[in-house]
Symmetry: D2
Subunit: 304 residues, 4 copies
């Protein structure tokens, strides 16, 4: 269970079967950094092209197609003060007629104070300049190489993860991915100091980060879509347009999970989920939208 | 501010400009009952046709087109023990290929214990018979007469409310509706002892209820879609298919609310909502799906 | 087989169980008029409120729930010269970002010359003033009373027909509707001198019309959605949002039709339709969109 | 204007920046072959993995990002007799409840007779064995390398073309693509002897083909989505889910085309398209659906 310090020198704007930057063993930990969605690093210098450039990929020894890769986020911490967001809810998220009334688009800056744990709007033009929310760091875009030799833009997401932009991907959670290629090839980037549901302005508070994660191989998993687990919840993801279809994938993946791990048949799982399931809308901005189907673990404890 | 006791003798399966059963003054309270989604009353006798039969309508004096009607749910309490749910997640909510694997549909009974505050699966055929969740009573279908003389099926929902099936419509909340016809004509029915997000098995735990509500008229409101308020949140509703479109209506209605009540222009509201908005999926079963766009009131307090 | 001349004196902006204006026998013909979408008659006087006001309803003796009503359009002819259309493709039909570039909305007039069979833009402001297309008269909104006592806005469409806005609903076609109430209660209105696919500017060339139709009862039909037949094609309709769902209904209804009338099982019908089906997008403007699933009759002649 | 004979020795199941198999000059013609969707060649031997394996890519000299590549299909001809299709309309295209009634999936063979120009079902199990339709050869999947270094599965389509499965892509048409990388890198495969609208059984009559095409570079084009032209029509494509969104892209691209080539402003184009546009549903089976927005060229001739 080694710990690796890795300093990236180049980045990828697709998630694919790129040459690995590091080979690690099953169970190893990596300490590294990510740059922001526009390619700016901790010193706010532009070091890569825009569009969620990824650190990695990391080759995890022993991971084979048919397995799952489990990645636990041990630490996600902004490593500079300037973050930025969009200033307007995206056109596709509003009534089409309302779009006619929108002012011009621009970026606004936020001051990320790690000590205080706050994120404060720093935009003299804005009427709510100084508006402050608590920091809640998360990663928006990460995943493993997709099947069929594809290289998929970091603008979007798919069965292999990618730009899911889910505010629940914070320190302490474990994400499971279906492995499509030997070594899995894990990529990570696109940190947010905080984000609302849906990533409706097209961004969280975009920021570079110090990142630490631990990767484990789960042999012979039947996982189809990404799954996430924290102390309280199990969660299944669907990444697609429209939301209805993302929700179909997320719901069906949760059924598969309950069937495999808890031996619940479809009827029993349906009866229980009907009164207990929770949904979250992770993003409605990216080319694929993301819906999370969640179940509180305590609901499962109630089954004998 | 009178309190009226009203015992219904007939029910409606559309929400429309039906003859009022009672005329009440602005600010009055009504104590009445609702029957379950299949038309069964507190004694479990079938007294109306199935499909969310409604108690009412109640004519609220002073309500005119252009106003809003504010209805506060003072009490929502199951008034019998037998509830029932579907046994399967609806076909449209699952991956289409997965639908081929589904067993037959049937109803399952639940025991609703108001004293204990529990709801327990009472279905000897089921592998999880005896499964128990806490009671959390809510109403699924209620609203005011829609515009243009329409009479809209209680299977669905629209700008006037209707079958939104939102688990957050519990005791203590206030719902606002756009008034389309003099007296507003408020209808109510379809109680659930508990429900998960999305109403994915096509039902909550369906039950008859004792209901108490208070109605107030808000003059000259510009409300377009239903809005709900509780101690912690303001919430705007969109009722449509697909989910993407329901979300457009809900998000835009929340912007309108912030603009009217808090004088936030679109850019300021967008900047704030981008990092603070929450969405809930109320139902993905009914002909119109329902999305809730929510904002915690404490986020508004931060705007000086 | 009587022929009735009927001159309307009032109109409806919902399709519902309104008092019939005329009772006719199975097989009878009606000669009447319709007013335009804004309520203007042959003399261009406003005689009803806007929104596709309907002539009727007509009670057809012998029609009972479970039957189909077959209506043949014998004659559809504009009865005045001024028509009008919108000037812009509707916001929802364009890329959301493109909506920001749209100029203001307005109506433009067209000159409908029945003798010449032409429709000519008559709008001095327009850069293409004088643009001419051939006349191709059709009706946009018509149908029978819906189930459950509903009264449905003439803005939209449903299983009972309504505002389907299909350019193929011209003279000579026969439309079949599922009967939900005794007498079927047929309504008709919303004539267009011509229209493109999708009704993308929110209108065809809106016009008042002289109309003649013949109504027949088909006993014990299993029709779920409207069906249309002309010399060349059988066509099944789906009315819903989004288009994907309208297409599901239309395709499945065509399968049901092939099964009932031609005894084709699902596999045989699928194999044939896979290489022969045609789709049309009737409207993408109204609250429910309309998709037509069509099969050329000659493809059916090729089966044994 | 050279003509190149090229015999492929390997194939790609993504469209991306693969090493070119041949470099050709602007205006050159290529005579080559394609294998079927499952990787079977003219001798019906499996020579590649399944999923629309592509011949190419072909590097066209002079093509640069910002240009368009125009490809004319000079010849598309099946080069063996056995074709095959699916036996069932795909689950996602049917009402979800109807999916429960579907029999098992299997392939069925068709006999493709190039001399007679016929395609005949050759499946002894089938009740309509011997069913015959006219041959109408087309290509389903082709395109140029996408932007950002992506490699996109040949199961789907995007701005660069791909698996659009449009039955109108027959001999004689010219397709325009936005060039994203030097040389454009044109790929082609997935021939169908015939296909219905929507590719609803998941296939046309899949077959290997002899193919001849000519490629030209159009400098400084502003094309965003693929465009196709034949003698009668100009056509713009949108590739996305759901159909509503594919239709938005197609319609907006047609507006851009009319603006650039015919100097029609948005209002004039809208007024004309409102009464003249035609839509086709190319495919509703692939991960991205494809809608075609078409305008008959004769409608443009009427603008002086």
């Amino acid at each position: 269970m080694a710990t690796h310090n890795f300093q990236p020198t180049h980045y990828h704007v697709t998630i694919g079967s790129h040459d690995p930057v590091l080979r690690i063993a099953d169970g190893d930990t990596v300490i590294t950094t990510t740059i922001d969605a526009r390619g700016n690093d901790a010193a706010d210098n532009t070091v890569a092209e825009r569009g969620n450039p990824q650190t990695g990929p990391f080759y995890v020894e022993g991971a084979e197609p048919g397995d799952a890769l489990a990645v636990t986020f041990d630490r996600l911490m902004p490593n500079r003060r300037r973050g930025f967001t969009g200033n307007l809810i995206a056109e596709r998220i509003l009534e089409p007629e309302f779009v006619r009334t929108l002012p011009p688009k621009r970026d606004v800056n936020w001051d990320v104070d790690v000590e205080q744990g706050t994120v404060t709007l720093s935009d003299p033009e804005s009427k709510i300049n100084g508006y402050t929310v608590p920091m809640a760091p998360m990663v928006g875009c990460f995943g493993v190489a997709p099947p069929r030799g594809q290289a998929i833009s970091t603008a979007t997401s798919y069965v292999n993860g990618g730009n899911m932009d889910y505010r629940g991907h914070v320190e302490g959670v474990t994400v499971y991915f279906p492995v499509a290629t030997p070594g899995a090839l894990f990529h990570i980037g696109d940190g947010h100091a905080v984000q609302g549901d849906g990533e409706i302005v097209g961004t969280g508070v975009e920021i570079s980060m110090d990142v630490q994660f631990t990767a484990r191989v789960v042999k012979n998993s039947n996982i189809v879509w990404p799954r996430t687990e924290n102390d309280e919840y199990i969660m299944a993801f669907g990444n697609a347009r429209p939301l209805d279809e993302a929700l179909q994938y997320a719901t069906t993946e949760l059924l598969r999970w309950l069937n495999e791990r808890y031996e619940l048949d479809t009827e029993s799982a349906s009866i229980m989920l009907g009164q207990t399931i929770e949904y979250e809308i992770a993003n409605v901005f990216d080319p694929a939208y993301t819906v999370v189907a969640k179940l509180r673990k305590s609901w499962l404890d109630r089954i004998r």
